[in-house]
C-alpha cells in the first residue's frame, strides 16, 4: 500500500468506472454495483484495519478512492431505479437520496483527484439529476432544523472545535474533519427553500390530510466519507 500514489489511484478509479460503465450499458446493474460496492468496502477495510501502515497521503488517497467508489455505487442504485417504468413513492424518495448521495460524493472529490473516470461520473450524475428534476421537480420545501450546539469537539484532534485549526469538510491524513456534537438542543424546525440537506424534502404524499401533519425527515445520517453500504444499514 505504501506505493499507492496518485497515479495508481487514478488508474484504479478509471478501471472501476470503465467496468461500471460497461456493465451499465449492458443493463447489468448487479455486476456494476458489485464492482463499485466491493471497491468501497475494500477502501473502508484498508482505512479501518491497515491505517497504521499507511502514510497520511496514502490514507487520503484511499479515502478519496473510497468516496468515489461509493459515489458509483449510489449512481448504479439510482440509475437502476430511474430505468423502471413505474416508481412507488418510497422508490422516488430513495432515488432522490441516491442521486444526492452520488452528487455530494462526486463534489467532495472533485478538485482533489481527476481523470476521465471522474469526469464521466460528473456528467452522468448531472444528466440523471436533470432528468429526475424534469419528472419530479427539484423540491419547493425542505425541513431545516435549528439547533443550539452547546459543546462540539473536533473529529481530528478532539479539542473544542473553536480552539483548533482544523476546518470542517477538509481531509487531514485520510480523515475528514467534522464537528462532533456533544451537547445540543433543538430549537425549532423551519420550512426553507434552500436547505442544508436536500434529502429532507417535503413530498406531496408526506402530508396526511386526516391529521393535518407532515411525516418527513428532519435529519439524515448521510456523510460523504461514510463508506458503508446503505443496503447493509
Amino acid at each position: 500500500m505504501t506505493e499507492f500514489g496518485p497515479k495508481k489511484l487514478v488508474a484504479c478509479v478509471d478501471y472501476l468506472v470503465n467496468q461500471c460503465r460497461r456493465d451499465l450499458k449492458l443493463g447489468n446493474f448487479w455486476r456494476a454495483r458489485l464492482a463499485a460496492a466491493t471497491a468501497a468496502t475494500h477502501c473502508r477495510n484498508v482505512l479501518e484495519q491497515s491505517a497504521n501502515d499507511l502514510g497520511g497521503d496514502d490514507k487520503t488517497a484511499v479515502l478519496l478512492l473510497g468516496i468515489l467508489s461509493a459515489a458509483h455505487r449510489d449512481f448504479v442504485d439510482g440509475y437502476e431505479l430511474l430505468k423502471k417504468k413505474t416508481l412507488r413513492h418510497e422508490e422516488i424518495e430513495q432515488l432522490w437520496m441516491r442521486l444526492l448521495d452520488c452528487q455530494e460524493r462526486t463534489e467532495a472529490v472533485q478538485g482533489l483527484i481527476g481523470g476521465p473516470g471522474l469526469d464521466w461520473l460528473a456528467v452522468q450524475i448531472s444528466s440523471a439529476y436533470d432528468y429526475f428534476v424534469r419528472l419530479f421537480g427539484a423540491g419547493e420545501q425542505f425541513f431545516s432544523p435549528v439547533i443550539i450546539v452547546k459543546r462540539e469537539s473536533c473529529s481530528i484532534c478532539g479539542k473544542d472545535l473553536r480552539a483548533c485549526s482544523h476546518r470542517g469538510g477538509v481531509i487531514y491524513d485520510g480523515k475528514r474533519c467534522r464537528g462532533i456534537v456533544e451537547e445540543m438542543e433543538m430549537r425549532s424546525c423551519d420550512l426553507v427553500k434552500v436547505p442544508h440537506d436536500r434529502r429532507c424534502r417535503l413530498w406531496p404524499w408526506n402530508y396526511d390530510e386526516a391529521t393535518g401533519r407532515f411525516k418527513a425527515m428532519v435529519f439524515t445520517p448521510f456523510d460523504t466519507d461514510d463508506l458503508s453500504d446503505p443496503r447493509d444499514r
Partner: protein, 170 residues
C-alpha cells in the same frame, strides 16, 4: 502582520456592540489584540455570557482568516461560554464581524470571495445561498455598519468598492 492597538480605537469601543462585549467582562485590551473579531450574532441582545450564540458559519470564516495570517478572535477567545446556533438551511450566517485592522480588509474580502467561488464551482446548478452578516469596518474614528442579507457575489462587490474608496482616499 502585527496587530496594533491605536488610540483612535477608543471611539470604536463606544459602539453598542463592543460596549455590550465589555459588559460581559471582555476588556478593550483583549479586543485590541485582534484585527478581526467574529462576535456572537446576539451580542447586543444577550443579557448574560451564557445566552450568547455564535452564527453557524462564523467559525469557518474565522479559521480561514487565521489561515490567511489575520489575527482573528472567535467567541472561544473572548466569551468561551457562547454556544453555536446551527440553522441547517443552506444560507451562510456569519454573525457580527468587526474588521478592526485596515490591513485585514483585503484578506477578509479575499477569503469571502474564495468561499463564494468555491461554493459556485462545487454546486454550480443549485440556488446560491444567501449570506447574512453584520459587518463593522473601521474608518478612521468612525465605523461603517453594513447589515447585509443577500447573495455572496454582491457582498464581495460592495466590499471591493469600499476597498477602492479607501485606496483613493489615501
Amino acid at each position: 502582520m502585527e496587530p496594533k492597538m491605536r488610540d483612535d480605537n477608543a471611539a470604536l469601543f463606544e459602539h453598542p456592540e463592543l460596549r455590550a462585549l465589555q459588559s460581559f467582562g471582555v476588556t478593550t485590551e483583549a479586543m485590541g489584540k485582534f484585527q478581526v473579531l467574529c462576535l456572537p450574532e446576539n451580542v447586543r441582545e444577550a443579557s448574560s455570557r451564557g445566552e450568547l450564540v455564535d452564527a453557524g458559519n462564523a467559525l469557518d470564516l474565522a479559521k480561514l482568516l487565521k489561515e490567511a495570517g489575520v489575527s482573528t478572535a472567535t467567541s472561544y477567545d473572548l466569551t468561551p461560554e457562547a454556544k453555536t446556533i446551527e440553522r441547517r438551511g443552506g444560507d451562510w450566517w456569519f454573525g457580527v464581524v468587526w474588521v478592526l485592522g485596515n490591513v485585514a480588509l483585503p484578506f477578509f474580502i479575499s477569503v469571502l470571495a474564495n468561499m463564494v467561488t468555491g461554493w459556485r464551482e462545487s454546486k454550480g446548478k443549485s440556488k446560491a445561498p444567501t449570506a447574512h452578516i453584520k459587518l463593522r469596518l473601521k474608518r478612521g474614528e468612525n465605523v461603517v455598519n453594513i447589515d447585509y442579507s443577500g447573495d455572496g457575489d454582491t457582498l464581495v462587490d460592495v466590499l471591493n468598492a469600499l476597498k477602492r474608496d479607501r485606496e483613493n482616499e489615501k
